[in-house]
Symmetry: C2
Subunit: 80 residues, 2 copies
């Protein structure tokens, strides 16, 4: 059995984020994704930025690629 | 075992599309996604548009939600 590194889903609680989160969990399984809510953990914004996240919701894959899923808010707005 | 309806991944062969396609296949498995390349099948552009696809690459989930993944090209550009 292949063990997969987890993806990380970053979001900020916006309606677009919530829909995308639900879909990602449906598609890849809750156990394969770490969900980070910036409203609850601002300290991880820098980590996301370093990974290349420009807006939320976004999924950083185990390969390190960033998939920006629709558009909820820019990272600048999240930081403000 | 839960049988899942397939997602549909629409793209147009752009570099952004190819990366996203590979990641989606890694994440959800090739057997869970139908890949539609508009360069090879223009007739499916209308179907995508009806589903709410505005740009490619995009994934339409089994629930009918559209996840626009990064930005490769608008559907208008694809049609042109």
């Amino acid at each position: 059995m292949k063990k997969m590194k987890k993806s990380v889903f970053y979001h900020a609680g916006c309606p677009v984020c919530v829909t995308a989160e639900q879909e990602i969990i449906n598609l890849i399984g809750a156990s394969n994704v770490d969900v980070v809510h910036f409203g609850e953990d601002k300290s991880r914004i820098n980590e996301a930025e370093s990974a290349g996240v420009k807006s939320v919701p976004a999924l950083v894959t185990p390969n390190g690629n960033v998939l920006h899923l629709n558009f909820g808010a820019s990272l600048a707005d999240v930081k403000a």
